[in-house]
Each structure stands twice: as C-alpha cells, then as structure tokens.
Amino acid sequence: MAVIKVQGLKKKFKGAEIIKGLDFQLETGRCVALLGPNGAGKTTTLRILSGLLKPTDGTVLFEGREKNRDIRHFIGYLPQYPVFHSWMSGKEFLVYVGMLAHLPKKEAGERAEKLLKKVDIYEAGNRKIASYSGGMRQRLGIAQAMIHQPQLLLLDEPVSALDPIGRREVLTLMEELKEQTTILFSTHILGDAEEICDDLLLLHKGKIVEKGAIEELRNKNQSAKFELKFSSNSLTYFERIKSMDIVQDCLMVKSEIHVQVKDIEKARQQILAASIKNNWPLVKFELSRTSLEDLFMKVVKN
C-alpha cells in the first residue's frame, strides 16, 4: 500500500518552474532516497510534502487518512539545517514539540526519553542545545521528527553536513528507523542512497528521470566492464579487441583497455580464447560492474 501519492506536482518560484511535474508514490515501510545534484529541486519537493510550501499545481494524497485530518499528524520532517530553541535543553525541546503534536505531557516526556536514548544523546538531554555539536543537533533533529510516531519521515540531506563519524552514526540510526516507518530522504551523494535505501527517485532539474527499487535499477542499468592490461604495449591489441562482435565499447585508459560488454559470459570466453590462441601477454583481466554511478553521472551531465 502506498503511504503517499504524488501526482503532477509543480512548483513555481517567481515565474521559474523549479518542480516540473512529479508523479510518484511511496510504499509503506520502504526507505526511499530522493537523489539528485544540487538545485534539482529536492528540498522544494520535501517542503511541499511537509506542508511548508504549497504546490503551484498537482496533488499530494495521503492514503488512509481520515477526512480533513491535518496531514502534519502523519509527517515528521527534518530540514537540511535544523534550528532549535537553543535556550532549551534537548529534552525540553522534544517535550515541547511532542505536546504540539497532541501528546499529553507525561507521554511526551516518556517519548522524549526514549528517543534521546535511541539517537544516543541521552546524557546530553538536560544540557542546553546551544552546547550541542553538529552531529548531536542532527540526531536531535531526527528525534524531534519521530516524536509523534509519524507514518512518513521526511529527511532533507540528513548526513551531508556531518563529518565521517557523524555520518556513520546517522546512517546507522536511519537503518534502525527503517523498521518502524516509511522514510523519504534527500541526498546528492549516491553512495549514501545506495547504502540504505530500498527505492530510488532520481531527480534532475525538477523532473524524475528514473525511479524504482534500487536492485531493479541496478540490474536494468547494468553493463559489465572488463579491464585488460598487457605486459607489452596494450595499444597493439586495442583494434583487435574492439572489432570483436560482443564488444559494445572500447576505451584506452592509461595503459589499460576498458571493454564494455553486454553478455559477461560470452565476452569472457571470447576474450580469453583469443588471448590464448594468439598468445597475448595478458597481465590483468578484471571484471567490474558499472553501477548506478554511471547512470547518475549520465543523468547529471546531460
């Protein structure tokens, strides 16, 4: 079942169309990455879903929502640069936003304690937020988004601003949260997306250029690449390899030949057979799968 259905979503800012008609739906329990280069419209999309911005056109539908119920009940949102009341302690802030989300005071307090433990800033819970580090703020940000147990968690670039340690911590945390709720998070780093997401929405210049389960996309866009190196000048063999019928594309990279092929098995047999037959001085024969990286780069460069 879908948590949310988006149809024909458009957004204009001062005449310029930032979002040019998005259609997608998020399935319950999935962790979805909204991937795209800077300026693709990721933040705008998330802000529309959170209700902070109004779409110029199109609809956002929450499945299973009672009529006229405020959509904000269903959503937890973490902006890219979360700002808190820094005069409050972390726990006070969580209780505050929890009560804003209709939790009774006692329950808000319990939820706050639980979440502080979960995001691992329990010891700092009674300290002023002003004294928190960037990573702690980000984790407090996730905790405040989770306070009312939303069905959909929207995270805007949750790890981009963090150092490697902070990044790792937040990614691990998201891995855990995946079990509890549907997550849509934006990122411009493919590696982060590949690491934890189930589904991918590839956004570019306000349009979705690719979407689907990440495994599917990987298979769909997979082509195999062999890297070949010879002890004598590789150039000698370049033309002969290129002329093979299983070869899609052939490139000289430094002293190596990179061969793109469709069918890995056939290609391996042909190339190896040729090299044995002709006694080529082969020193390197390596298979490397091209991943989403190429897809991402292809999309971004166009």
Binding site: H85, S86, W87, A130
Partner: protein
C-alpha cells in the same frame, strides 16, 4: 543642617527608586556575564550598563542580548 534634614526627609521616598535602578543594573550585569555571545564587545556593554542607568540596561536587553 537644613540640607541634611532635607536629605533625610527625601531618602525614604527616593530610596526605592535607587534600589530598583541597582537591581536592574545588577540583573543586566549577571545576564551579560552569563551570555555566551553578545552583539558587540562585552566590556562596552558593561560600561554602558554601569554608567548609563536605565538606558544602558534597557539597550543591553533589547539590542545586546543575542536571541537564540
């Protein structure tokens, strides 16, 4: 003697005013010392608070304290 008598007469009436001014100044100073950050150098605010009664503390609270 006459002037002294006058002063003694006035004192119970003026004293609360002075006390309130002092409290205001003190609170401003405590706030200044405990503040992590102020708009403008702290020593300048300290001078303003100490030497311009009423206006100094008011200005400090409105302009000097950095909002969170």
């Amino acid at each position: 003697m006459d002037e002294l008598q006058q002063l003694i007469d006035i004192l119970p009436i003026i004293a609360p005013v002075i006390v309130i001014q002092l409290i205001l100044m003190l609170v401003a100073l405590v706030s200044l010392i405990r503040a992590d950050d102020t708009n403008g150098p702290k020593w300048l605010w300290a001078i303003l608070i100490l030497f311009f009664s009423l206006i100094g503390p008011i200005l400090y609270f409105i302009v000097g304290r950095r909002q969170s």
